[in-house]
Amino acid sequence: MVLGLEFPPVSHLVNWQEIWFKGTPFAISKVVIVYILAVILSFGFFFLAGRKRKLVPSGMQNIAEASLDFIRESVIMQTMGAQGLGWLPFLTTMFFFIFFINIFEVIPAFQMPGNARIAVPLILAVTVWFLYNIVGIRTQGFGHYIKNMCVPPGVPKALLVIVVPIEFISNFLVRPFSLAIRLFANMLAGHFILVTFALLTAALWGSTYVAAILPFSLLVALTGFEVLVAGLQAFIFAILTAVYIGGSMSPEH
């Protein structure tokens, strides 16, 4: 009989044993393997797809072209317009890198979304922060860029005392923070949900065989849902990057 389920502490769910180079800063755990695999996958996918290019695409080239088309149509054209088409390689790489890291959440034997550790989301968010600031300063000049970011058009003069600090904080400080936290927390929450239902299934299977059906069916359904979340979060990260870069390329007047 199960009277209470002992849930492991949070650190047990995301900290993995170091496999190689134990104790050094270069220690390799499961999460690092996920990162390395994601790099290899996103590089290898486009490398293999573009190696033997044909006019009529087939197989891998077909998928690669469809995904590039998807990024161009639903990320860049909707947010930056035609002037942002130069960002297509960067945004596609970013989308697939994040997606491949996320999708390891549901791949058996890994079952750990690499983005449930904040390192990669934070580095990507800081990269985006530098990018949109540099783009803004280069296209508008430093003074104009700061003014456009802090003073929204059409605000009465008396309100500027309140609006300018709020805009400054939200555009320069909260943006990278929320970008990182959004990806990180979504993947962490998904990981917790899957762990919770897996533990429930195991505990109920151990005591009463029949009762395990309910959490197990939910586990299967939520695994499907997490595949959706993995793609959606990669999409949202790419589209927010596009929005930020587009915002500093052409200010709203």
């Binding site: 949070v10 639903s74 929320s178 927390a185 999409f235 949202i236 927010l240």
Partner: protein
């Protein structure tokens, strides 16, 4: 009340961990209320827009995801804060 204080004096550590757990629950629960309503409004209005003008569905969907992402961030701050506490 007196008994609770007495208990606090006797088992300070246990009470503290218990209260911390309650605080975590309240932090995440409260942080989820506003974004829950907000995402409902965003998606509801997006569906209305798509139903009225199906030809603009692609644009509405992109904007809807943007709106969800901005709204959802507040709930996720609460989620992360609950673990930091």
């Amino acid at each position: 009340m007196f008994r609770l204080l007495l208990l606090a004096a006797q088992q300070a550590g246990e009470l503290q961990t218990g209260l911390k757990a309650v605080g975590r629950g309240i932090v995440y629960g409260a942080a989820a209320i506003g974004p829950g309503i907000g995402i409902g409004i965003v998606v509801g209005n997006a569906i209305t827009a798509m139903a009225r003008q199906p030809e603009s569905a692609g644009m509405v969907r992109t904007t809807m995801f943007l709106g969800i992402a901005f709204t959802e961030a507040l709930a996720l701050f609460g989620f992360v804060l609950a673990f930091i506490l």
